[in-house]
């Protein structure tokens, strides 16, 4: 899969995703943008939103981040997010359990994630 682009999604506590893919859609602070291999080098601020990872024309993985920064180079993308969840793994119950002793920003993030699922 060397013809893809390497995508890393990192949070302070773990590396959520580190694989090659065909394309990724990132929620930039000035609008969503897609990154394909050989994308121009870009540093972008990200807003809260969904990250879609595409392989063979369809979405294979979905994540939700609470803002961050993306460092895009022609051969790889690094997405740094303070909070991120894997939308295919997270369950609503688990989110609600987390929301019990959450601060207001966390609660609003949890609600946004719920909508995205």
């Amino acid at each position: 899969m060397t013809d893809g682009i390497k995508i890393e999604l990192v949070t302070p506590s773990e590396m959520l995703f580190n694989e090659y893919a065909d394309m990724v859609i990132i929620p930039g602070s000035e609008g969503f943008f897609g990154v394909l291999p050989r994308h121009a080098a870009t540093l972008a601020n990200l807003q809260r939103g969904k990250i879609d990872i595409y392989n063979n024309g369809s979405i294979t993985r979905r994540f939700f981040i609470d803002g961050g920064v993306a460092d895009v180079l022609p051969e790889r993308v690094i997405i740094l997010a303070e909070r991120a969840v894997d939308l295919d793994e997270i369950s609503i119950q688990k989110l609600e359990a987390e929301a019990v002793n959450a601060t207001s920003t966390e609660t609003s993030f949890v609600n946004a994630v719920k909508e995205a699922i």
Partner: protein, 289 residues
């Protein structure tokens, strides 16, 4: 000569100490694995963040860059963040941090700066005691180990940032124990404000597009970087603390074992001597008849 009962009590007490130290060693070892994983999992984020900042810094114009990146022109007050453990019994862990902090304070004051100290963790504060009472900026406890929490660190970082903007200090650095492996910890001093920038970035050659503008991007990234640095330092320090405790408790267990051996030897010799003495008494008593 020590009597048998005293020796027995002594041996038993050392034995129970040994039990405690070996239990502590086990607990530390079990926790260490988790803490080590957390510290290692946190590294990519802080390393990447560092790279991004360094890349931006290399390209940023020196004149109107944010103070968080290039620092203030006149540095009078320095904030030193000292990260130690909340608990003792971990060998030289807290002692080294305290010693290092003391020499750092001295160095900064020799440069004519006044120093404020932000204590994270209970032990170094106890250790530095009166020396820092006048210099204390703030103290937090219970933010380590399984309590390391990004949100909490964020509020700490925010507090530091607001105080920086109010010019309570012009420079910030941090002392903590970096986890290397189970038997080695490194005391490191990292500058936080102005941000630490690696010199060997080849990113000057890459022409980055910025979204939004470079300075705006820096404005939002630098505070985040501060949080990240403190967060990863806490993770490192927690892992290092457990590693130090594990080694210390391992040594203590071994020393207790040695002590039990030598006490048992004395005990047995004394017992033997007593028996011999009694025998002699009986024999000489029988002969006298």
């Amino acid at each position: 000569m020590a009597n048998l009962k005293d020796l027995k009590t002594r041996i038993n007490s050392v034995k129970s100490t040994q039990k405690i130290t070996s239990a502590m060693k086990m607990v530390a070892a079990a926790k260490l694995r988790r803490a080590q994983e957390a510290a290692e999992a946190g590294r990519p984020y802080s390393i990447r963040m560092q790279q991004v900042i360094s890349g931006l810094a290399a390209n940023a114009s020196k004149t109107n860059s944010p103070e968080l990146l290039v620092g203030r022109k006149e540095v009078k007050k320095h904030l030193l963040i000292v990260i130690s453990a909340d608990k003792g019994l971990c060998g030289g862990f807290n002692g080294t941090i305290a010693r290092q902090a003391r020499s750092e304070i001295k160095r900064l004051e020799d440069e004519g700066k006044s120093v404020l100290v932000f204590m994270v963790g209970k032990k170094a504060a106890d250790n530095l005691g009166r020396e820092i009472s006048k210099r204390t900026f703030d103290r937090v406890e219970n933010v380590q180990g399984s309590n390391v929490n990004y949100n909490e660190v964020q509020s700490i970082a925010e507090k530091i940032l607001t105080s920086f903007e109010q010019s309570q200090f012009d420079q910030v650095s941090m002392i903590y124990n970096q986890f290397v492996n189970a038997i080695t910890q490194n005391v490191v001093v990292t500058p936080l404000i102005p941000a630490h920038v690696e010199d060997d970035v080849e990113k000057d050659t890459i022409n980055y597009d910025y979204e939004p503008e470079e300075n705006e991007l820096l404005q939002s990234l630098l505070p985040r970087n501060l949080t990240t640095q403190i967060f990863s330092a806490l993770l490192e320090s927690s892992a290092a603390e457990l590693a130090a405790r594990m080694t210390a408790m391992d040594n203590a267990t071994r020393n207790a074992g040695d002590m039990i051996d030598s006490l048992t030897l004395v005990y047995n010799r004394t017992r033997q001597a007593n028996i011999t003495k009694e025998l002699i008494e009986i024999i000489s008593g029988a002969e006298a008849l």
